[in-house]
């Protein structure tokens, strides 16, 4: 037992918690934009998987991690646009169409991997970028300031998202469309336009999240995300549709994942029980949903397609 609680191990677990939180954070942040405007995109996991594969493939071919990110973002953007067509224009039942997007992403990413790559070849990962001075602080430095640039940027996107949603005209339109689409429409805001924009933002961020995941792990395999996209959607509820809440939730999940991983490698959790330990994120999600569901209210137009004059 003792070796889990040494400071060195705890510091490593916390640092890895931050790294593991980032894909969840980015995907959940993207989903927040969509949900605040009234669209539930359940296909995040599928978009992440395709973003992960294209990101992986781009790095494999060019050996440039930033091109990998860009490739993931482009695929995410296209799929975000497709999701918008399905949910906004065709007004599909959002709870189910997203499952279709998920299955498509799951199958397609695997198919492309088998056709274009075949055997898993490791790729280069993000270079570590220590923040001068700050990274030298004992413990704190190792936990917070010895990551790659992507990790810092992901956390920087939290205040940016908060600002955009709460302080800009675009953010106001998003909230108006998500709460009172009829009123917004009357005032000349294009409900469909705003929702297209938020779905594209959400898709792009999900694509980036997938690429970050693949490049951080340096590998791609079938169902790489293992349900991370669904956890990300739950995080939006958990974080009460606010970027800061979502960040806290993502960090909590990153921590749980890092801890379970560490306990498994140290065989404190016996191998036979590792499946039981893997239930932790899903069970915590359900408990968290129970706690927040009564306290916070979802955007009133969430999952409701908008038709003028109804």
């Amino acid at each position: 037992m003792s070796e889990v609680f040494t400071t060195a191990v705890m510091v490593a677990v916390l640092a890895s918690a931050i790294r593991l939180a980032v894909p969840l954070l980015l995907a959940a942040l993207g989903e927040t934009f969509g949900q605040r405007s009234g669209v539930l995109n359940l296909g995040v996991d599928g978009i992440m998987l395709l973003g992960a594969f294209t990101g992986y493939y781009a790095v494999l071919k060019t050996d440039n991690v930033w091109l990998g990110l860009l490739a993931g973002a482009i695929v995410g953007l296209i799929l975000g646009l497709a999701s918008a067509v399905i949910a906004v224009t065709l007004k599909a039942e959002q709870g189910i169409s997203g499952i279709g997007v998920f299955l498509f992403g799951l199958g397609m990413s695997d198919l492309l991997f088998q056709k274009l790559v075949g055997t898993p070849i490791p790729i280069s990962q993000f270079p570590q970028l220590d923040i001068p001075l700050l990274s030298d602080i004992p413990y704190i430095g190792e936990i917070f300031f010895q990551h790659s640039l992507v990790i810092y940027l992901a956390f920087l996107s939290i205040p940016v998202a908060t600002f955009v949603i709460n302080r800009t005209t675009f953010g106001m339109k998003i909230r108006a469309v998500g709460e009172y689409p009829d009123a917004a429409d009357t005032l000349g805001v294009s409900v469909a336009g705003v929702r297209y924009a938020t779905e594209i933002i959400g898709g792009t961020l999900a694509g980036i999240a997938g690429a970050v995941l693949a490049i951080t792990l340096g590998i791609f395999q079938q169902n790489l995300t293992n349900g991370a996209g669904f956890i990300a959607i739950a995080l939006v509820y958990f974080g009460a549709w606010r970027p800061t809440g979502i960040m806290l939730g993502a960090l909590l999940f990153g921590f749980v994942n890092a801890l379970v991983l560490e306990l498994k490698t140290q065989e404190i959790i016996p191998r036979d029980l590792s499946n039981i330990a893997s239930m932790a994120p899903a069970i915590i999600t359900i408990l968290a949903l129970v706690l927040v569901a009564r306290r916070f209210r979802a955007p009133s137009a969430l999952t409701k397609p908008f038709t003028r004059g109804k």
Binding site: L40, L42, G46, I86, L90, K91, A92, E93, G95, I96, S97, I99, G100, V101, F102, L103, F104, G105, L106, G107, M108, D110, L111, Q114, K115, Q222, N223, G227, F230, I233, A234, Y237, D272, L273, N275, I276, S278, M279, P281, A282, I283, T285, I286, L289, V290, A293, R294, R295, F296, R297, A298, S300, A301, L302, T303, K304, P305, K310
Partner: protein, 403 residues
Amino acid sequence: MSVNLSHQQRRILAYSIPVLAVFAALLFGAIMLVLLGANPIEGYSEMFVGAFGSGNALIATILKATPLLFVGTGIVIAFRANVINIGAEGQMVLGGLFATMAALYLPDLPAIIMVPVILLAGLAGGALWGWIPGMLKAYYRVNEILSTIMLNIVAVQLMSYLLRGPLIDPAEIEKGTRIPQTERLMESADLPIIFGDRFHIGPILAVLCAIATYYLLWRTPLGYRLRAVGLSEHAARYAGIPVRRTIALALTMSGALAGLAGAVLVFGSESHRMVTDGSTMGFTGSAGFNGIVAALLGGLHPLWTIPASFLFGGLIVGGQALQRAVQVPSALIVALNGLVVIFVVAADRYRVKLLTTDGRDEEIADDGSMPLDDDDSALGSVYDAAPRGTESYGQDEFGEDPR
């Protein structure tokens, strides 16, 4: 465009829309096949022959359609009560596990007792896995889409744990191969074969369940309550219907039918074991998701779900034949499956539009009042209802506790 159509024409068009959506998805699939360097015409003809071309193919299709019909029937119940059950995958797993445990731990009894016992065990397992999100939705306002997805994840881990540990075939430990599967389950629990060497009673049970569900929904007070809650929670509450209990019950029944599908999968399988590859889809073949599509194809009507499941079963069996014939990775079938889901769901609104604008104003249903005509409401969909799943969040939707 629909203005000039007669009543009859509209109906026919409405029923052909989901089928057209499937064809649209297959057209998309044809493009993918071309990109993969395969001949789509050859592929699709193999698909058709593989699904419907011979007696054997038809039996395979019917057996594949069986879990879809169980799940789809459950989905119809949930949808009619305005609940979206994405958790059938996990409910099937729990049903399979409960039924397997019943067979492993109970003494060997005659088949006439064992078969009903394992089916009931499966029913109970699925019901439990539906009851949890049902209670959470009804009493804690937890979105059922999210909770059922999470419970799918819990179910697959539970299955892996049990089949690698407590339930593993002792022979696997001896050999050291440790394949996560049970021993060959007792023969008295095998689903009785009706004809041939593998056509068991499962399909008959599924059809009976669909007929019973039709009767339940339109001929009993409980069915009336379920549909009333689905059309308008407010109106249902004013009518004195216990809304929360009805919502929880809808998900429980939906789960129970999925659980039955899980039990039938295990005891109707050729190996008569429960096996896992570490994913839900490895056990269910995505029937938990495809059952939703079958229900939508069937216009959310239990009886129409029977032919819809048959068609969808053919699509899956044919898809496997296609994949073998033109030598493409099986991942293509998963991707195609996703496209079919998207196209059918996206087209569903147009089907509903054709039916609801028929003869009476769409607004009537959307105001939350009850449609007067029984027959028409049977052909409608969850979109007729004003309140939708997620919006009941934190809003004053439930009023006081009916307990």
